[in-house]
Symmetry: C2
Subunit: 352 residues, 2 copies
């Protein structure tokens, strides 16, 4: 397998899906470090390479990661890194690293490990839909396997030790990506987001930390990693996200009852522009694809599945567009390539 083999297929976190889904994808990651060794931020390049080599050996033996595929960051181009970041396989931070840092992933992308990001190990499980429980089972198995061969930096009082104090304890971050166009259209998104922040959750955009929620995509995750068990953290997040999902569904029902023509107009315009634009900027595209997705979920747009829209969300990002043509593109060229990709994907769809 090579990186190019990923180009033609949907990313795991937004893979093909059918039927309405407020929760588009779920993700869990665990931060782990090796006892007695400098954390990546302190280790020199040579030490990082040595640590990476030893970790590759252990990861290569973990059955749950097989068949696995390895990407050495030192061997990637800037476009490769954008591409991996857009698939949520590597973080913004890992995308800036080179020698001594790498990604080891199961070929299906659903289970992966970032080596020498901020921590020695960042285990990550992700899937489309709302499946935090299953992801926990998988990542916990990978973690236990690794713990059998590695000596983790661990404190009996604090738990797992990590480079950033906000991760100390469980080292766990569970998150879901929720698509909330109904709450946005009904002007209730702000109080909902504020409420989530108030009870200690983090709410971010499509690309995680520091990004805006374009396309009505909200990443909701736990902030607290200390003093609670993994199960408690995950179950509470699940419970709250269930409530958000109910709010969103109610908002959509109210919209369809009280302002149907407004919703039809919102979806219709997006469909019309996506079908006919020749230049599409990235953020505008996300907004329009959000409306298209709502249209598919409400049965207004036929001939297209939610998964097709998800796929477009991933594949119209800069790195994906450039990987697809196999060369770098200027921002203007990307906007044209994005419009072409969208028009092609939407061609067989129709609006009711």
């Amino acid at each position: 397998m090579t990186l190019d083999d990923l180009v033609g297929r949907p990313g795991a976190w937004l893979a093909a899906a059918t039927g309405p889904q407020v929760v588009v994808s779920s993700r869990i990651r665990l931060a782990r470090n090796l006892a007695g060794l400098a954390f990546p931020g302190w280790a020199g390049p040579e030490e990082c390479v040595r640590i990476q080599d030893s970790l590759w050996t252990v990861l290569g033996k973990a059955r749950i990661l097989q068949p696995s595929f390895r990407v050495d960051l030192a061997a990637t181009s800037p476009v490769d890194r954008d591409f991996l970041r857009e698939r949520h396989l590597i973080s913004n931070e890992l995308a800036q690293k080179t020698q001594g840092s790498s990604l080891v992933m199961r070929e299906d992308e659903r289970l992966s490990v970032m080596v020498n990001e901020e921590d020695h190990l960042r285990l990550q499980a992700m899937s489309p839909g709302f499946h935090l429980g299953e992801l926990w089972t998988a990542i916990d198995e990978l973690d236990s396997t690794l713990e059998g061969s590695l000596s983790y930096a661990f404190s009996g009082r604090l738990g797992y030790l990590t480079a950033c104090p906000t991760n100390v304890g469980t080292g766990l971050r569970a998150s879901v990506m929720a698509h909330l166009p109904g709450l946005r259209l009904i002007n209730e998104i702000e109080p909902v987001v504020k409420g989530l922040v108030k009870i200690g959750l983090a709410v971010r955009g499509l690309q995680g930390e520091g990004t805006e929620a374009f396309g009505n995509m909200f990443q909701i995750s736990n902030q607290t990693t200390l003093g609670e068990s993994e199960q408690v953290i995950i179950e509470r997040l699940e419970q709250i996200v269930n409530e958000v999902e109910t709010h969103e569904k109610n908002a959509r029902a109210r919209l369809m009852e009280q302002r149907e023509s407004r919703v039809r107009d919102f979806v219709g315009r997006a469909f019309g522009v996506l079908s006919n634009a020749c230049v599409l900027a990235s953020n505008e595209s996300l907004e329009l694809l959000s409306a298209l997705r709502l249209g598919v979920e409400l049965g207004r747009v036929k001939g297209m599945e939610v998964g097709d829209v998800n796929r477009l969300v991933v594949e119209t990002q800069p790195g994906h567009l450039q990987k697809a043509v196999g060369r770098g593109l200027s921002p203007d060229e990307r906007d044209e390539a994005r419009a072409v990709a969208v028009r092609k994907a939407i061609r067989r769809a129709s609006i009711q």
Copy 2:
């Protein structure tokens, strides 16, 4: 003939046309008053009715106005008046009048007379395209005919006397409606408009005085009515409009050469929104129809003629929408009816 007979057909000023036309329509009007009688603003209601009766008799005999059709403003509903205003058959001012004011028009709408607007008589000739010379011939014939039976208020020194001093002299206002999307897209519309104003022309929007140029439609007319012959006024306007037309054509050519994808995008988006919107506000609709019109003229939009777009411009106005359904509509209902009318008209068109 009744007012309702006009509903199903295109207005004269924007009637069916084929091929690109920067100048969409032309119009000439003459202000005339009767000697020895109070102007409409000073005459009481009874005097206005008496004057109107005598004018109806004379107008009824003018051959060039036959077959003619008469609309007594007192017998019209607010919707009727909007409808007539939108067809440019009556002015904003006449639309506010009732008893003693009327419209006498040739059934083809191309020649008409407003009775007791600001002046006793406002003769008006209009046609699609750029035909000021022919309009002058027609309106001059009507004027001469009427002058044979009526005694006009006339000063040997000043010329024709009118209610507003800005019309004294020839009483003539010649105007063209120019569609200038190229100059707008290339950001040169402002200097062009400023230049026109500087040389003494008036530049207004689609609905004349006090209206904005929505949909890139600019009404260009003479300001001066005194001290020059009708021919000089008309020829100068023709000459300047010819220059504007050249500027617009050059702008379009430059756009297609240098920024073709921008133009394709502009037209495509408008086509997409017009084909799929369920709610269309009036001004937005004019802007989108302007882009559609450009698309038809550039050959990007097939299955539709420029005249079809012109017709939509007229028929999606509030009065027309309401006349078409035969009842009053709320603003929200109008925006929905407008979207329905546009979708229906554009259904058989396609984009290249």
